[in-house]
Symmetry: C2
Subunit: 174 residues, 2 copies
């Protein structure tokens, strides 16, 4: 365990942490219902489609697509299969590196994204942004952006040194 030097967090830190988890969970859960109804998408599937929509050419390699969305390779394969079966994406080997699979958004994928997005935006406004000021939103974006960078870059250095677990936050090793 930790070697004695683990002071507790401040009440403010604890509050921020619990609020973060709760808001993330409630928001995601609420928004997932909208996504399911409007486009029969799970949240993960929506995220994958949205990332592809933002990517140049609507295409990305599997590995790059996984970032922060899915925590195992097989999980991504599973979701990509579902999306491909519905015709929302295609998968094809990369010409440059034949090991890689390039996932590309289809027209149908863009349609679903377009069908889902307005309601998504509206839900976010009602559920979250209605309660926040412009400054709040700016602060939130800045702080959480920094936190996200930190988490993505986080080296293993786990706080649980038992069992020699060398798991990275974003990318489990084979």
């Amino acid at each position: 365990m930790t070697d004695g030097m683990s002071e507790s967090l401040t009440p403010t830190e604890l509050g921020a942490y619990f609020a973060l988890i709760e808001v993330g969970g409630l928001l995601r859960h609420a928004v997932e219902q909208q996504l399911r109804e409007a486009g029969d998408l799970s949240y993960v599937q929506f995220q994958l489609l949205a990332r592809l929509g933002d990517a140049p050419g609507g295409r990305q390699r599997m590995t790059d697509l996984a970032d922060g969305v899915v925590y195992s390779r097989s999980g991504l394969t599973y979701q990509a299969q579902l999306l491909e079966q519905r015709g929302l994406v295609t998968r094809s080997p990369s010409p440059e590196d034949e090991r890689s699979t390039v996932v590309a958004l289809t027209e149908g994928g863009r349609d679903v994204l377009g069908a889902v997005f307005p309601g998504h935006i509206e839900a976010l406004r009602i559920l979250l942004f209605e309660a926040l000021s412009g400054d709040d939103v700016q602060d939130l974006a800045r702080i959480l952006g920094r936190a996200a960078d930190h988490l993505r870059a986080n080296p293993p250095r786990s706080a649980a040194p038992r069992r020699r677990s060398e798991r990275t936050v974003g990318a489990p090793r084979p």
Copy 2:
């Protein structure tokens, strides 16, 4: 929705939203590993134990326990069963209202909580608070606290309402 009043979110709003979801997910995922290793707890189980630990007398009704942690009654029953089987909580009918079940933290439950907490704190410090200033943390707690209040006040809760969840944000079903 499609009637003109659905302006898109600002880039800052979108950034805050995506960062919120990503940080929540990454943090929860990372911390869950620590909880699993240190005390064989899922995150939900940890939250339930932690809430009981905070509650006066270490006891709460099932319904009150669910709040913001679990989104269906049966889900809570399932988790409570697991915790009871491991001897970390007890369940007993409430004397006041015989419909209610009171869940109480056992000594063993407190032990597990105690065994898990230092590493949990340490993980949070490394994963999250290391990257944030004191002001950041205060802002975060304030803003997310407000967001949590707002989300709780609106009813995206499917744990409490039974059949009457027509207050959802998404489009009506076909």
